[in-house]
């Protein structure tokens, strides 16, 4: 299943947030969306998953989601969004309970996603007992449990310390190698974008417009350690963004 964004524009009352964004997210592709803070990238992601309605333009699903898919467009949030009163397995079970699955089928899915995210030993733990990285792993396991067609990740690593971020990024790469998931990945971290993105969309500051789209052909598994090509891309992205970021930094947040 592909996603196609057609001429998306959005405004909150008088404030224009997004202007004429058109974008294709192809099957098996990770599309990173970067931009200075307040450029509307998270808003754009909410529109892709149907949590918010653009003022004009539309998001189209091209093709059918694969069979067995319970929730085609599935988010992974920056703040994990785990229910603190449910255990790890309870949090995963939450998103399965509304589907017509019997207990055994649900149990099978939970055991499977916990194994895939190496969380099997933490089934009965409450979120407060887990580190930030573990919480995000639980959120990833929860997202995988509904067999999504597209993962929508809203700065999934931004709330974590840099070592945990590295580890989790490796997990995401490894997972992609295995399952070839499709993803829209919003971040303000250029290193994350060049590490994970097949396609990197650079947004301008508010109102967010597409400034450039950079494609990186190098396979994800090859993008490790020192890499001149990636560094060149990252530098190029930063020159594209620097002035925008500086200008965005000087703006008042709410007017």
């Amino acid at each position: 299943m592909d996603l196609s964004l057609r001429h998306i524009s959005h405004r909150y009352d008088e404030v224009e947030v997004l202007r004429d964004i058109s974008l294709e997210i192809g099957q098996g592709q990770i599309v990173c969306i970067i931009g200075p803070s307040g450029c509307g990238k998270s808003t754009l992601l909410r529109m892709i998953g149907g949590l918010e309605r653009p003022t004009s333009g539309e998001v189209l699903q091209l093709g059918e989601p694969p069979a067995g898919c319970l929730n085609p467009l599935t988010y992974i949030f920056q703040d994990f969004a785990l229910l603190p009163w449910r255990t790890v397995e309870g949090n995963i079970s939450l998103v399965l309970e509304d589907h017509a699955l019997d207990g055994a089928a649900r149990e099978k899915i939970i055991a499977d996603v916990l194994a895939r995210t190496k969380l099997s030993d933490f089934r009965k733990a409450y979120p407060r007992q887990l580190s930030g990285g573990m919480k995000q792993r639980v959120a990833i396991a929860r997202a995988l449990s509904v067999r999504p067609a597209v993962l929508l990740m809203d700065e999934p690593l931004s709330a974590l310390d840099s070592q945990t971020r590295e580890l989790l990024m490796d997990d995401l790469v490894e997972l992609w190698e295995k399952e070839n998931y499709t993803a829209a990945y919003v971040t303000h971290n250029l290193a994350e974008a060049v590490r994970l993105g097949h396609k990197i969309v650079v947004l301008s500051r508010r109102p967010g417009e597409i400034r450039d789209i950079v494609e990186i052909d190098m396979p994800l598994s090859a993008r490790t350690g020192e890499n001149a090509e990636l560094e060149a891309v990252q530098k190029r992205l930063w020159t594209l963004m620097r002035d925008e970021a500086r200008a965005a930094d000087m703006e008042l947040l709410d007017e």
């Binding site: 599935t74 988010y75 229910l83 009163w85 939450l94 407060r128 929860r142």
Partner: protein, 271 residues
């Protein structure tokens, strides 16, 4: 390269400590000691004649009155009558309060319609409405239960919608993003999220229920702790009055303990 302190230089003085404090911790033995010392001083005061028995009866006299009540078997009749009113009134007031609070917390129409109404009626002392309750619900149990019900209803409503307002919107959005049904979002995300606030509301409404018990039993009640206190008061039997008040105070402690247990059980995820 070394982190070893150099001996050759002058000693220097330690950095003064300025942290710590501002963290009161409960110490279990202190509370009983405070009670015992206070009651001891009171007893001593009346024994030595520092406190005239006309002004305040000795704790031993109040205890005597309490034992009379136990021995005559009247205590259980009073307690049973009061507990029945308290539990029915408090339970139905709380349930209705949670229901209406949830409606106000969830629906714009309920919020705009009922929130000002709640704000307008909450501060009215329910005791002032007692005569009306008697007319509406009869002189029997109805008016007594209604007084407690109304008294506990409003604080529960406010606690409930306050709790719902404070539920993390991110969790609700998460529920929506996974395609959870409305009813699932309400029962699995919003209500559990509001539960801490609802339980602290229950603490307040339990205290209010006990306060209103005495008011409720002002109306033609034969039995009940409140009725016992009022009778003692009008006879100037201050020992009985103190005994009755102490029973109410113990009821309050028991209620608070029960709600504390419920909090421990339902909110164990907070720890």
């Amino acid at each position: 390269m070394s982190d070893r302190p150099s001996d050759s230089q002058e000693r220097g003085k330690p950095v003064p400590f300025r942290g710590g404090g501002f963290l009161p911790k409960p110490k279990k033995i202190i509370a009983p000691i405070v009670f015992i010392v206070l009651i001891g001083l009171w007893e001593l005061g009346t024994r030595t004649g520092m406190i005239s028995p006309l002004i305040l009866p000795a704790p031993s006299e109040a205890f005597g009155a309490f034992m009379d009540l136990v021995n005559s078997g009247l205590l259980w009749q009073h307690l049973a009558a009061s507990l029945q009113r308290l539990l029915i009134g408090w339970f139905s007031g709380t349930m209705l309060g949670i229901l209406v609070g949830t409606l106000i917390g969830l629906f714009s129409l309920a919020r705009s319609g009922m929130q000002p109404l709640v704000s307008a009626i909450f501060p009215i002392p329910k005791i002032a409405l007692l005569p009306l309750f008697v007319i509406w619900f009869g002189i029997g149990e109805g008016s007594k239960v209604a007084t407690i019900l109304f008294g506990t209803f409003f604080p529960t409503v406010i606690a409930t919608y306050g709790g719902i307002d404070n539920v993390d919107r991110g969790l609700i959005r998460m529920g929506q993003s996974f395609g959870l049904s409305r009813i699932s979002i309400i029962t699995k995300i919003i209500l559990p999220g509001a539960l801490p606030a609802i339980l602290s509301g229950a603490r307040i409404s339990a205290a209010i229920a006990i306060i209103l018990l005495v008011a409720a039993e002002m109306i033609a009640a034969e039995f009940g702790i409140g009725a016992y206190i009022l009778l003692a008061g009008s006879l100037m039997a201050t020992d009985q009055l103190i005994a009755g008040v102490a029973i109410l105070s113990c009821l309050g402690l028991v209620f608070a303990w029960l709600i504390g247990r419920a909090e421990k059980y339902f909110l164990k995820w907070r720890a």
